[in-house]
Amino acid sequence: MSQQEQIRAKARELFESKQVECVIGYETGSRGQVRPAFIYGVHDVDRLVWNQGCTHNLTLYLHDKQKPAKKGEPPPRVAIVVKPCDSRDLNVLLAETQIERERVYVIGVACDGIAKGAGFARPSANSNQQPAMQDRCLRCGERVPVVYDVLIGEPPQVDLKDDFADVARLEAMTPAERVAFWLKQYDRCIRCYACRQVCPGCYCNVCMFERDDSLWVGVATGVKEKEFFHLGRAYHLAARCVECNECERVCPMELPLSLLNRKLAKEVLELFRYRAGVEPVKAPLLTMLAEGEEPLI
């Protein structure tokens, strides 16, 4: 059975045994694009797909599913299809008490890598030729999800180690060159907040960068405001970002946002030997300790 057939079979079984009310997976949408799908019963199970267009990090949608559909009811039990990279977000969200493990059935997928341009109607994603892999997949050695209730597919054998070559390119610049590089990038940001909205780690009800009282940053689409927003967001995601690259993928202005997060991921790895979400932890790396309390890591 292909991985796609196995996902459908598992979804069918979960509905028939009444284990879940919704399966969050992928489907083929318009123009051949793959998109997130919300499946509510056996009759829709065959909409589910698995292919190299499945780029979205679906753990984003678990936040919505923590709320009951109707007042007074318990929140729904859901199943979710996760890639190895996305699965790390489950550990992050569990450590931050944002999701309840027993309400989420994790369909983990062994991953061969995702195509460049996936999620959009771009020629590279829809040509008949074997599509080029995303850069992040070309350095990814984690082909099995870190959390799952069922594993779909055989883990591919890869011998890859992330050497942060992308970050090194940036680190090779002088500070002045780096400032110039980033200001040029921020300049074309349109402050659409797609990077924040798509991020499973950005779940504040009111983002500090969008407060009505403009306490931390003004409303203008100026380069200073945008610099503050992007740097602030990157810091808020330090030791929390799992490098799923969704922020960079969704950016309509193609800002290389992953570089900010990857730089901080590299710092955290070197300083604390810690990578967000790789292992289950009882509390986030960066947290407040009560007086006399010992760090967990």
């Binding site: 949408g29 999620g119 074309r188 409303v219």
Partner: protein, 338 residues
């Protein structure tokens, strides 16, 4: 019809850039955007649709609509600077159609929006016909066409050896006055036309307001603002006062008008914290109802020009053409409901 050669057009643009502010398609880190240009060499001629619409030239994402100065105890309001004349070059027919929709909202009736009116008055639109319809384009279903001269001051169309010049308004004719143009031999090209999209008549929309379809459609919506910011007709804004400068006995405050979007979670929150559009479905539904129902009801034109930008830019494939197909089916609600 008159024809201008590519070389003559470039010379004309170079001269224009020296005399007036010129906005034109320009490659910014590989992305084509309408940007100020200082010479024709910076202009991209081979492009589909720039990622953002040219509405920025008339309705900028941040607009300082008024400043207040405080000297000790006296408050003064400095006169706003007069708008500089500007030419938007290379806009597509759908983009001019979009500006016509904005005109209906901002200056179509009293009281007119002064900031918009000043900029609009100082703007001349010199368009470039599309040689074809691209992925996501459906202008022909929204009353436009790839070579539609409506709402332009001048429309250029690429032909062998140059561009035909269709100067429509007095403003447009003045721009090309005195230029040596040759006579077109043969027929101007007719661009290929794409698929036809069914657009539900205005009166039918209210019946679909309570469909469960909207909540299901919006489940994958991430609540960002991409679709509204790339849209040539979305024109919602937020106004806030901001301290621009402060020192002893002097302060200046700017009243900023900045783009806002109905797709954002807190767009509609009222004083006291109530949100009349509390769900993603209610918010996304508003976007479509605004385009195809509220706009027509309140201002006349339909709020969509079929440019396809939101289709191209949506990170989760919320496709306005698919939505139009879906709502045109009578049984859509049951088809997609669990």
């Amino acid at each position: 019809m008159k024809v201008i050669t590519q070389e003559a057009l470039k010379a004309w643009l170079d001269r224009l850039a020296g005399e007036t502010a010129l906005f034109a398609p320009r490659s910014v880190d590989g992305i084509v955007l309408y940007r100020p240009v200082s010479r024709s060499g910076e202009i991209v001629f081979d492009y589909t649709r720039p990622k953002m619409s040219p509405k920025e030239a008339i309705f900028p994402s941040t607009d300082n609509i008024v400043s207040f100065e405080k000297h000790s105890q006296d408050v003064t309001l400095p006169e706003p600077a007069l708008e500089k004349q500007q030419v938007v070059f290379g806009l597509r027919p759908c983009d001019a159609h979009g500006i016509n929709v904005l005109d209906a909202v901002f200056i179509g009736r009293e009281p007119v929006d002064l900031s918009y009116a000043r900029r609009r008055e100082a703007t001349t639109l010199v368009g470039l016909s599309c040689p074809q319809m691209w992925e996501g384009c459906f202008c022909t279903s929204m009353g436009g066409a790839p070579d539609d001269p409506s709402h332009m001051d001048v429309l250029l169309t690429a032909v062998v050896g140059g561009y035909t010049v269709n100067a429509i308004t007095e403003k447009g004719k003045a721009l090309f006055a005195g230029l040596e143009l040759s006579e077109l031999t043969g027929e101007p090209p007719h661009p290929t036309v794409g698929e036809t999209v069914p657009v539900m008549p205005v009166g039918q929309w209210p019946k679909r307001f309570t469909d469960r379809y909207w909540e299901l459609l919006a489940e994958r919506c991430i609540g960002c603002r991409v679709c509204t910011y790339v849209c040539p007709t979305c024109r919602c804004f937020d106004v806030r006062d901001q301290v621009a400068e402060r020192r002893t006995n002097y302060a200046r405050y700017d009243r900023l008008r900045c783009w806002d979007a109905c797709t954002g979670p807190n767009y509609r929150v009222t004083a006291g914290g109530h949100n009349p559009r509390p769900t993603k479905g209610a918010r996304l539904r508003n976007r479509f109802f605004c385009k195809f129902y509220y706009m027509s009801q309140d201002y006349g034109p339909t709020g969509c020009v079929g440019c396809g930008r939101c289709i191209e830019a949506c990170p989760v494939n919320i496709d306005i053409v698919e939505v139009l197909h879906d709502v045109s089916k009578t049984s859509v609600a049951t088809e997609v409901t669990a």
